[in-house]
């Protein structure tokens, strides 16, 4: 009886340590993950520079990438953008807004099993070309669409 009680206590103690380790483990990847923000890429100010910062040496224009967005955005603060990639093995989808103070808006990683499709809303300072840059199988592809902005979204 007594040995069994000891065993239970030991097991209980063990679980506590495991839970602590798990909690520590949970915090660690979170911190590592916070550092995975590509500052160099977000500091770029042109399509070519952003592409380079994302790791691409060149990009091919592709009709398999669709940008669904309004032709004219009345309010630059909220411009809905949908990007759908038909390029096989799409790994990432980046949204670039050429004439914004910072060209790169977002970079989405699409694991296998997730559709190469994303909708979000972006701010646009002025009328600009929007690029959707897709990385697929190590190669870069893009599509471009101009959106006219009547009222900028980054004004003070």
């Amino acid at each position: 009886m007594d040995t069994r009680r000891r065993a239970v206590l030991k097991a209980g103690g063990g679980t506590g340590v495991l839970a602590l380790a798990a909690a520590a483990g949970l915090i660690k990847p979170g911190e590592a993950f916070a550092q995975q923000w590509n500052k160099a890429a977000f500091d770029t100010k042109s399509f070519a520079a952003t592409l380079k910062a994302l790791g691409g040496s060149g990009s091919t224009e592709s009709t398999q990438i669709q940008i669904i967005a309004p032709d004219i955005a009345e309010n630059g603060a909220v411009v809905p953008i949908t990007i759908e990639s038909g390029v096989p093995k799409t790994d990432t989808i980046a949204i670039l807004i050429e004439k914004n103070p910072s060209t790169l808006s977002a970079d989405f990683e699409i694991p296998a099993g997730t559709d190469p499709f994303i909708t979000t809303r972006v701010k646009m300072a002025e009328t600009s070309n929007i690029y959707a840059v897709v990385k697929a199988d190590g190669k870069y592809f893009h599509a471009v669409k101009e959106i006219k902005v009547t009222l900028g979204g980054c004004g003070g």
Binding site: F42, D107, E109
Partner: protein
């Protein structure tokens, strides 16, 4: 702490359709307040979506994502009743995580 995210996850055929609305100022750091002083940048930098221990979407964001960010995407492998967890971290190190149960759609 920011307000909870509003997450809707529902089945659409064999895929889970997720829509999320986050509550965040998304300050660019370029805007001036009434007194002419720059409002410091405050924006979400990383977003991760997980389902059953697997990341189904992750993103890095800049300052040009709109205030109160919205996202819509789809992934395979989820079932009604299972959970989708969405987390973000901003440039000040603030973070928030919310989950939603996948509905039958």
């Amino acid at each position: 702490m920011a307000d909870p995210m509003r997450i809707r996850a529902s089945m659409a055929g064999d895929k889970v359709e997720v829509r999320v609305l986050m509550s965040h100022e998304m300050e660019t750091g370029l805007r001036k307040d009434a007194s002419g002083a720059l409002v410091p940048a405050h924006f979400i930098q990383n977003v991760t979506v997980t389902h059953a221990g697997k990341t189904v979407l992750s993103a890095q964001w800049g300052t040009s994502i709109s205030k109160n960010p919205f996202m819509h995407f789809r992934f395979k492998g989820g079932k009604p009743g299972e959970k989708v967890t969405i987390s973000w971290v901003d440039n000040k190190g603030e973070r928030r995580s919310d989950e939603a149960v996948i509905s039958g759609g």
